[in-house]
Subunit: 209 residues, 2 copies
Amino acid sequence: MTEVSAAPRPRGRPRDADVDHRVMDAARTIYRERGWAGFNFGAIAKAARVSKDSLYRRFDSREDLLVAALTVPPADVQLDGHGDIRGRLIAMAAETLAGFALPDGMIMFRVFVESASNPELRDVYHSQVALPHIKNVRRAVSEAIADGTLPEITNPTVFIDALLGGLVMHVMVTPAHLRDQMMEKSDQFVRDHVDLLLRGAGYRGGDAD
Amino acid sequence: MTEVSAAPRPRGRPRDADVDHRVMDAARTIYRERGWAGFNFGAIAKAARVSKDSLYRRFDSREDLLVAALTVPPADVQLDGHGDIRGRLIAMAAETLAGFALPDGMIMFRVFVESASNPELRDVYHSQVALPHIKNVRRAVSEAIADGTLPEITNPTVFIDALLGGLVMHVMVTPAHLRDQMMEKSDQFVRDHVDLLLRGAGYRGGDAD
């Protein structure tokens, strides 16, 4: 943002704070439902009830706009802070599962699918979707190993892939019309899931029965 | 196929056995790359070098053709037969991972993504993609519980979702250009993955160190 200046703009309407929100909402909905092929400034401007000019002032490209609109659930979940690894993983897994189960949770899967045959989306997928997932969990696991509540895991990748993958698969095999029912039982699922993996990894803390 | 008749066809070329193969290949490639929006008889006929009539004789609808073309890796893997649950799960997981890592492995993810906003694909996804995955592993797990090599798992869904989900996630976080490298190390990954879950589930057999 090299154009930011302290001088007041001489004319034009004051910046509508609500516009950003409408644009992000429209971008997510259009990408989720139509994919990259339908993700263009015209359609998004129309759905957000803003001018195309207004979009071009905010974003240099479709990629820019998609990156801004991506809300990848695990990247939003902070695993920093205090508490036992079990409690932190359960909290992270619960929020992640809830995020995947929302309609916007599908966006992550769509970027993955489309990035396979679309070089424009490859970097977006890896930097914005795949890496944040992994890094967040990897940090928590490293800290638990450092403080002694987890033994040295010979293969942390296996633990992390199973942790996030189990949540992904749970959503993938649940039809959309049964998602509410799935979420009602999600606390138990998440606890059982985290405990299965912690026991497998040799967890020495409490309550992983 | 109510038109099938014992009477020899009076004329026309003999049925080309290679046509079926070309049609399936073309259908998979086109669905994988373009999705449901680009999956039409015209495009598939052209890519397979057959007439559209020839497709209409074989398939009643696009859904029919997609179902015929779907090869869902885990559904192809037989877990029946002899051997310890650990060996059988490792073999299943290795084949499943290899299937996901192929370009056609993306088809499963695409049907999932598109079925979320496309009622025509919902049944296809659930009957042809999600259920075969789950049923196959569930059967093996039930047998292992019956023969005593696995304890009664309080939540078999958790075990199965983590088993298949870990494989899915391993592929999802590996960029396409690193898939060959991933597959070179896949034997170790698969053993560590299955062993993590078996230990977590209280496996009583050998070699899950």
